[in-house]
Symmetry: C2
Subunit: 412 residues, 2 copies
C-alpha cells in the first residue's frame, strides 16, 4: 500500500516546532506492510493546502494528515479535504453531543465555533480522541483512505495506537516485526563479521547500527501474520544471542540504565555514585526507571575539589595525583560506596569545559567502579562541546558499570 | 522570496531519523525575509526524487535541499538536479584535488566512486564543507537558486552558518531580527495584558508564548538592514523591560540555570543541592554552563531515606513529618548548604514514580531554598509520567531559587 504523510501547520514552516509526528508515523508503517513514499509539510494557507491535499489524494492509496483540526479560523484541514473530495460538511449530532459534554464536564463555556470540530462528510467516520476535543476522520472512498489526526503529539500518538493501528492490522496483507539486540564492547564491523553467517537471508533480514549506547543488531521478518513473522525471527534471534553472548545488554526499547537496574535488582545489589564533570547526570540516568530506589541509594555531585574531600576523597591523593586522575576517580568510587553504604561505587572526575585543566584536554574523563575488593577503570578524552561531553561520559560510566557486573576486569 | 525545503533520504521515510535539518533551516529563513511555503521529504527513489525536484524548481524561487550527496549509488541528488536543469555533470578539477587531499591527509585510500562528490554542473559552484567530504552546490539560473547541502546535521549547520547565511544576507531586501524576553512568575494572560499598550504595532510585533521555562515575549522587527531593524526593536524592548521588570530572567538563548549562574557569580555566592526525586537532574542543570564551578559547589542525591539522614537530615524530622514533606525539604536545603559549605542550599523531596507514597500522589514535589537565615518553599503535584515529573520539578526548583535571589519571600 502506497502511503503519504501530510503535516499541516504554519508553526512547522516557521521552524518553531520539529515535526515529530511524521517521524512517529513513518516508524510505525513498516510494521503493517505499508510503504511510505512522500512526507510533506505545509502551512495553513488555503490554496497551498488544497494543492498538497489534491496531489496526495491523487497519487497515494492511504494518506495520513496531522494538524489543522482545531476550532480556529486557521484550522482548515476538514474544509479542504471536503472540497477536494467534493463532499458537503455537516455537523454530526453524536459528535456535537460528545463535544458539549466534554466542555460541560470541565465547566467551560461552549462557544459556537467549537461546532467545527463536530463536522463530518458522508465518506468520513469520526475517530475518538479521548485526549482532546477534535475527533479524527477516517475517510474511505474509491478504494482509498484519508486519515485526519490532531496535531498535538500526545493526542495523535494515543489515537494512532488505539484506533489507527488496529485498523491497519485488520487490513494488512503482510506485517513486519523486529527484535533489536543491543550490545556494548564490540565494534560495528566486528558485530557485522560475527553475525555474517546469519546475514545471507532476506527474511528475516539483519541490520547492524552503531548508536550512542553501543551497536544494535535488528532482526526483522515479514509474514502474513504477526505470529508467523515472529516464528521467522525466533531461530535467528536464538542464534544471534548465542553468538553475541554477554555483549547483549538489552533489547528493543531497553535503556542501558534500565538494563543495569534489572541486573542490580536481580542480584540484590545497590549502587552509589560520586561524580564531578557529569554534574549529576549519572545519578539522573540511574533514576530513570520506576523502582530505581531498590538499587540506587544516592549520588554525590562533588563539583568543587573541597566537596570531594569533605565527602571522603583523601586530600593527599588529590595533592599527589591531581584532581583529574585515575587515583581520584577510584577514591571517589570508594568514597561513594562507603559514605552511602552501597555494594558498588562509581566515581567520575573529568573536564566538561572547553579549556585545558592541569595539562589535560577538554573532554578528559577518568571513571572507576568498585565493590571494595575489585576496581575497574576507564579513561577517555574526546570533545564535541560541553553537553555532548557530559552525555558521552554518562554512557561510558554506565558501560563500565555494566562491564563490572559482567565480571570484566580489564581496563577498557 | 518564495522558498521550499527538500529533505532527501530513505532513512527519513523509515522514521529512523527525525528531520531536524528542515526545522533548523525553517527557523533561520525569516531572518532574511525569505518565506517558506513547502517542506517535502522524499526517499532515494529516482522517479519520485525527480518528480519532487522538478515541482520545487518550477514553483519556488529558492530551493534548499539536504541529503543524497554521499559517494554511494543511493546518493542521486546531484544527478537528479542536473537532469532537471538539463545540464551535464563534469568532475571539477579543483574539487577533485581537494577530495584527494582530504583522503590522503587521513591516510585513507581514495576509491574512484568518491569522484562523484567532485562533480559540478555549469550553473553550480561548489560550497566548501570543512566538516565532511561532500561539497554543497549553489546553483543559480533563470533568476532562481537551488542550494544542495549534505544531510549530516553537523555538516549542514556549519555550511549554513558559514556559507549560506552570508549569501542570503547579501541578497535580502529585508531582514527580521527578534529579541525574546523570558519571564517567570507571570501567567501568559497577564503578560499579554501588561504588554497590551505595546501590542498594537505590527513592526515591531510582539508575540507571547507559554513555554516550559515560563512565558516568553518575542519582539520582532523587519527592515532593510539589520541595524535599522534593531533600531525599531530597541525602544519597545526598553518599554517591555520596564513593564515586566524583575520577572525577566533572561533573553534569547539564555537558560534558567544560566541566568541563575550569572546572578550567583555576580554576587559572589555559591549554591549546593540535596535532591531525591529529581535524581541529580537539578545539579545536572546547574552545571550546564562553562564556569559553573565558580558558583556550584556540589549536590547530594539522597535517593534512599538512609542517605538523607547520613548526609545531615535529622532522623526525627523524617519520623515526625514523613519523608515527603515541607520540613524534610527544608532540612535537605539546610544540610546541603552546611555539608558543602555553600551560601545557599536547595532541597527537594518528592515522588517521581507512578504510585502513591505515604498518602501523596505521583508527581508530588516539596522544594525549599535557604541561605541559613531565610527559607522559601514550593509545593506542587502534577503527573504526566516519570521523566516529565523530573523535568518539571527541575524547572520549579530553579524558579524557586531564582525567586529567592530576587528577594521573593512568599510561598509560590
Amino acid at each position: 500500500m502506497r502511503a503519504e504523510i501530510l503535516s499541516i501547520g504554519t508553526e512547522i514552516l516557521f521552524g518553531e516546532i520539529v515535526d515529530t509526528n511524521a517521524a512517529f508515523i513513518a516508524s510505525r508503517l513498516p510494521g503493517f506492510g505499508v510503504d511510505l513514499l512522500y512526507v510533506s509539510q505545509v502551512g495553513d494557507n488555503a490554496a497551498r493546502l488544497a494543492e498538497v491535499i489534491e496531489r496526495a489524494w491523487g497519487r497515494s492509496e492511504i494518506v495520513f494528515a496531522t494538524g489543522g483540526l482545531g476550532p480556529t479560523e486557521d484550522d482548515i484541514t476538514r474544509e479542504t479535504v471536503a472540497a477536494t473530495l467534493g463532499e458537503a460538511l455537516y455537523v454530526d449530532a453524536a459528535q456535537e453531543a460528545h463535544l458539549r459534554e466534554w466542555f460541560a464536564g470541565r465547566g467551560r463555556p461552549f462557544v459556537e465555533r467549537n461546532l467545527k470540530q463536530a463536522q463530518l462528510i458522508p465518506s468520513a467516520r469520526a475517530i475518538p480522541n479521548p485526549r482532546g476535543t477534535a475527533p479524527g476522520w477516517w475517510v474511505e472512498r474509491d478504494g482509498k483512505v484519508f486519515v485526519l489526526m490532531p496535531g498535538p503529539p500526545a493526542e495523535m500518538t494515543y489515537m494512532w495506537e488505539h484506533e489507527i493501528e488496529p485498523e491497519l492490522e485488520r487490513r494488512a496483507d503482510s506485517v513486519l516485526v523486529a527484535r533489536t539486540l543491543k550490545t556494548l564492547g564490540l565494534g560495528e564491523g566486528l558485530v557485522d563479521e560475527m553475525l555474517s553467517p546469519l546475514l545471507a537471508g532476506t527474511n528475516p533480514s539483519i541490520g547492524i547500527y552503531a548508536r550512542r549506547d553501543g551497536v544494535h543488531a535488528r532482526i526483522a521478518a515479514k509474514a502474513r501474520t504477526r505470529e508467523e513473522a515472529w516464528r521467522l525471527v525466533a531461530p535467528v534471534e536464538v542464534e544471534a544471542r548465542r553468538i553475541l553472548g554477554d555483549a547483549i545488554w538489552g533489547i528493543d526499547d531497553d535503556t542501558l540504565a534500565g538494563g543495569i537496574g534489572r541486573t542490580l535488582a536481580a542480584r540484590g545489589l545497590t549502587v552509589a555514585v560520586m561524580e564531578s564533570a557529569t554534574g549529576g547526570a549519572i545519578a539522573d540516568a540511574l533514576t530513570s526507571d520506576d523502582g530505581s530506589s531498590t538499587y540506587f541509594l544516592g549520588g554525590l555531585v562533588t563539583y568543587a575539589t573541597a566537596a570531594k574531600i569533605a565527602l571522603g576523597v583523601p586530600a593527599d591523593i588529590v595533592a599527589t595525583h591531581g584532581v583529574y586522575s585515575r587515583e581520584v576517580a577510584e577514591a571517589m568510587a570508594h568514597a561513594a560506596r562507603q559514605r552511602l553504604g552501597a555494594d558498588l561505587g562509581v566515581g567520575l572526575t573529568g573536564i566538561a569545559g572547553s579549556a585545558d585543566l592541569e595539562g589535560q584536554p577538554p573532554g578528559t574523563m577518568h571513571i572507576a567502579v568498585t565493590d571494595g575488593a575489585r576496581t575497574t577503570y576507564h579513561h577517555s578524552a574526546f570533545y564535541q562541546g560541553r553537553d555532548a561531553a557530559k552525555r558521552r561520559a554518562v554512557t561510558e560510566a554506565l558501560s563500565l558499570l555494566r562491564g563490572f557486573l559482567m565480571g570484566e576486569d580489564e581496563t577498557q
